[in-house]
């Protein structure tokens, strides 16, 4: 309301903050775009052919960074959820939600790339192996996290419920991992995953992997900032609508 009365050419501190926020986001967009092009070159042309896996192993450079970053994303969701329940500030909830959405997206990509990588290497699309199973359960938990928000009676309650799932979900992950590991060792020999020989990854491949990790981290940071800005706009719009409706 006050904004409309103030003179348009006066730049408020809020405007400056927003402009700064956008500048950094744009810088991240450019950086991750350039890095992504370079990353593609490194993955498909620079990285040598694998002796046993041939071309397929190149999935590693996408699959592994995405998996690591999705864990980071759910970690951020956990922190955001704890802080939201503790402080009750909408900013923490926005952080948790934004991070969870990107985490679900990245985990989906991890599962899809994993399935297509596993088929030629293991001979099966899927193995009920601890890491795979835990990733799938993780995906299911955070899909439920997003679902409970859209099914909640109002956004505030949705945020609260989601925060509970964000916390329990992450605590559950190690338990799922260990229980599946025990379960597997009872029935089947351990699957030697393509990552089991990570320690013997040649230096050139390792540096490509590291570069890819940086690239996807930049992309994650950019997406997170954009999603946060979008959430802020959504909230501002909603507040404005509520104000208008209460005035009528």
């Amino acid at each position: 309301m006050e904004r409309a009365e103030s003179k348009p050419h006066v730049e408020t501190a809020e405007d400056r903050a927003r402009a700064g926020y956008n500048r950094l986001s744009n810088a991240l967009l450019v950086a991750s775009g350039v890095a992504m092009l370079l990353n593609l070159y490194l993955i498909f042309i620079y990285a040598p052919l694998d002796a046993t896996q041939g071309q397929v192993y190149r999935a590693l450079f996408v699959h592994v960074p995405l998996a690591w970053i999705s864990f980071l994303a759910f970690g951020i969701t956990f922190v955001g959820s704890v802080m939201y329940l503790w402080k009750g500030s909408r900013r923490w909830d926005a952080l948790a939600l934004s991070s969870a959405e990107i985490g679900v997206l990245f985990t989906t990509l991890v599962l899809v790339t994993g399935v297509f990588w596993a088929k030629p290497i293991w001979g099966t699309w899927w193995q009920w192996e601890p890491r795979l199973t835990t990733t799938l359960i993780l995906w299911l938990i955070y899909v439920a996290y997003l679902m409970v928000r859209s099914y909640a009676p109002n956004p505030r309650q949705g945020a609260r419920y989601a925060a509970v799932i964000g916390i329990i979900g992450l605590i559950d992950v190690p338990i799922v991992y260990f229980s599946v590991e025990w379960w597997r060792s009872v029935h089947f020999p351990h699957v030697v995953g393509p990552l089991a020989d990570e320690g013997t990854l040649p230096a050139s491949m390792r540096s490509v992997l590291m570069f890819s990790l940086i690239t996807f981290t930049l992309l994650f940071a950019y997406l997170l900032r954009e999603r946060l800005a979008l959430k802020r706009t959504e909230d501002a719009l909603k507040d404005l609508r509520d104000t208008v409706e209460s005035k009528q």
């Binding site: 359960i137 099914y151 419920y161 799932i165 338990i175 599946v180």
Partner: protein
């Protein structure tokens, strides 16, 4: 501590009394559980040689799905009759509410399981019952009820709550399902004592973790 025990027992008693008078949950859940066993029998064509391997899995699918129905009822009745607000206005802590509901759900599930297990043993024809199996069922049911009480308190407020509860509940209780199936398998005879003890330990650990976390967050979600 004394201040917690009495409200918890009273709340659980209220739910039990309601159930004793209506027999809503136990009868419907029981029929459902028997149906699960029947369908599995056709789906898997269980032969006497496989029964030790398959029976624990079928048993726990039946218990888990029957449990979901029982948990759903715990808060749906309160919500639909508008008595949830009344519960929240009670001069007792949120912990007491949680543990009261937990105890009620736990006892319902045990009652259903106590009837289902003999039916199940007869229908699938295996020499099942042992103290070890009973202990595994007890611990796993406690884990189910601990997580289920929390999630049914969340699900009851959402649209299409019948689907929200399993969607929230099953991913989180995967470890309980695994441990329950393996412990039952070991108790029935397909595994050794060492294995049995190990899975029972995991069940105990899971129960302990969730009996700490769930009441804590339960208080947070019920604030209006």
């Amino acid at each position: 501590m004394r201040g917690l025990v009495r409200p918890v027992l009273l709340l659980a008693w209220k739910d039990l009394l309601l159930e004793l008078r209506t027999r809503d949950i136990v009868s419907s859940v029981l029929v459902f559980g028997v149906l699960v066993v029947v369908i599995f029998n056709f789906a898997l064509k269980v032969t006497p040689s496989q029964v030790d391997q398959l029976a624990p899995g079928i048993l726990w699918v039946a218990f888990a799905f029957a449990g979901i129905l029982a948990m759903n009822r715990a808060f749906v009745l309160e919500k639909d009759r508008g008595s949830l607000e009344g519960l929240l206005l009670l001069p007792v802590s949120r912990d007491a509410l949680y543990f009261g509901k937990l105890l009620g759900t736990f006892l319902f599930m045990l009652a259903v399981e106590a009837v289902l297990l003999p039916v199940f043993i007869v229908l699938l024809n295996f020499a099942g019952f042992s103290g070890g199996l009973a202990l595994a069922i007890l611990l796993a049911t406690l884990g189910f009820a601990a997580v289920g009480t929390l999630f049914s308190a969340i699900a009851v407020h959402t649209r299409s709550r019948e689907i929200m509860l399993p969607v929230l509940f099953f991913p989180v209780v995967v470890p309980v399902v695994i441990a329950a199936v393996e412990a039952s398998k070991a108790a029935i005879g397909a595994g050794g004592m060492v294995e049995y003890g190990r899975w029972l330990g995991l069940l105990g650990a899971f129960d302990a973790i969730f009996l700490v976390i769930c009441p804590w967050v339960f208080g947070l979600i019920l604030e209006e």
